[in-house]
Symmetry: C2
Subunit: 209 residues, 2 copies
């Protein structure tokens, strides 16, 4: 990955603009995110992604191998999970739940992350790699670190209950788009659902120890 190059022909692209290797690679990843977000893993094709990126399909394979490898690369997160977790735990401890929901909605509603999340949900229902990514986000990268940082009992179960709440919100707000929830502003959604997430964080859970 030597990054930039000034020789456009090295990119191997046939389109007019010839953005160079790193530009071409990034264009392919962006096209892949578009395609996986719109269609899910099963329906997206390397040919379609190549067309969206205006490159030859052979170039997609050359840079990223098969569809599975391209999916994994396209789903790499553009944000710093540790930083998000730290910012969530800091501040008024009574409103951690609200900050979790708000942070989640903000990620969804910002460019690239939105496509990564959409692609993951659209793919996770039938594709094991994507399902594993969703499990990872809940248990190890985003929600799990928050519940562990709070040193409450049953941190794993709490993380999953909160993850379920967030996934469900995403399904109705962004995927199946059920009104009136889809049209509410983020602040209202966080105010209404935040206290529930807060209870999953700190309330006693009626389960065996």
């Amino acid at each position: 990955m030597s990054g930039s190059t000034k020789d456009p022909r090295r990119a191997g692209g046939r389109s007019g603009r010839r953005p160079g290797v790193s530009g071409t690679r990034e264009a392919i990843l962006a096209a892949a995110r578009d395609a996986f977000a719109a269609d899910g893993y099963d329906r997206a094709t390397l040919t379609g992604i190549a067309a969206r990126a205006s490159v030859d399909p052979a170039l997609v394979r050359h840079f990223y191998g098969d569809k599975e490898s391209l999916f994994e690369r396209a789903m790499e997160m553009p944000w710093d999970a540790e930083e998000i977790v730290a910012a969530t735990v800091a501040g008024d401890p009574e409103r951690i739940g609200e900050r979790i929901v708000l942070g989640f909605l903000e990620i969804w509603e910002s460019g690239t992350s939105r496509e990564v999340f959409l692609a993951m949900i659209r793919s996770a229902v039938t594709h094991e790699t994507a399902a594993e990514m969703v499990r990872e986000l809940i248990t190890r990268r985003l929600v799990g670190p928050v519940t562990r940082a709070l040193r409450v009992p049953h941190p794993e179960l709490r993380a999953i209950l909160i993850g379920a709440q967030l996934l469900g919100l995403a399904m109705v707000r962004y995927v199946t788009r059920v009104e009136p929830l889809a049209g509410l502003d983020r602040g209202t959604v966080a105010r209404v659902t935040g206290p529930h997430v807060q209870r999953y964080l700190v309330d006693d859970l009626d389960v065996d120890p």
Copy 2:
């Protein structure tokens, strides 16, 4: 298509290899539910469904038309929504939330319904007909009737918030199967999440009137 057959031994029977018209139609629907539940709408094919049902693909088309029509027929619910709603609203009013969760998990974990629900979720993320079915279940057939029966303010928004909670539970428990939630018994899940659904039913919601 009268549904009857010439051989009385075969009429309505599920016994042998030549079950007659109504048996064949039901076998195709069952195979379709299997296929849509396992693969979602996009990956399931009429040819694959015909093979599962051990019939000729032409027969599938003859009885059910295209994939879209077959999907709609296969997703028709084997249960009485009104009865489920009535049973949920009756009984201890403090535990309606718990009964909602328990009823939902029971539907999921019983034969045919489980496949219909799985197929709907697996398909709703990329297929508009399935997404519309999910919206219908939340707003008009299952959750909406419960919140309207309770005569609380914002019945639609409450139904959707509860629908989001249930969908999220289904995603983590049945689709992506995240532990420890996937392995907990139904009663425990209902006890832990029921009070949250209860609050979505009756608590004040901090939204404009």
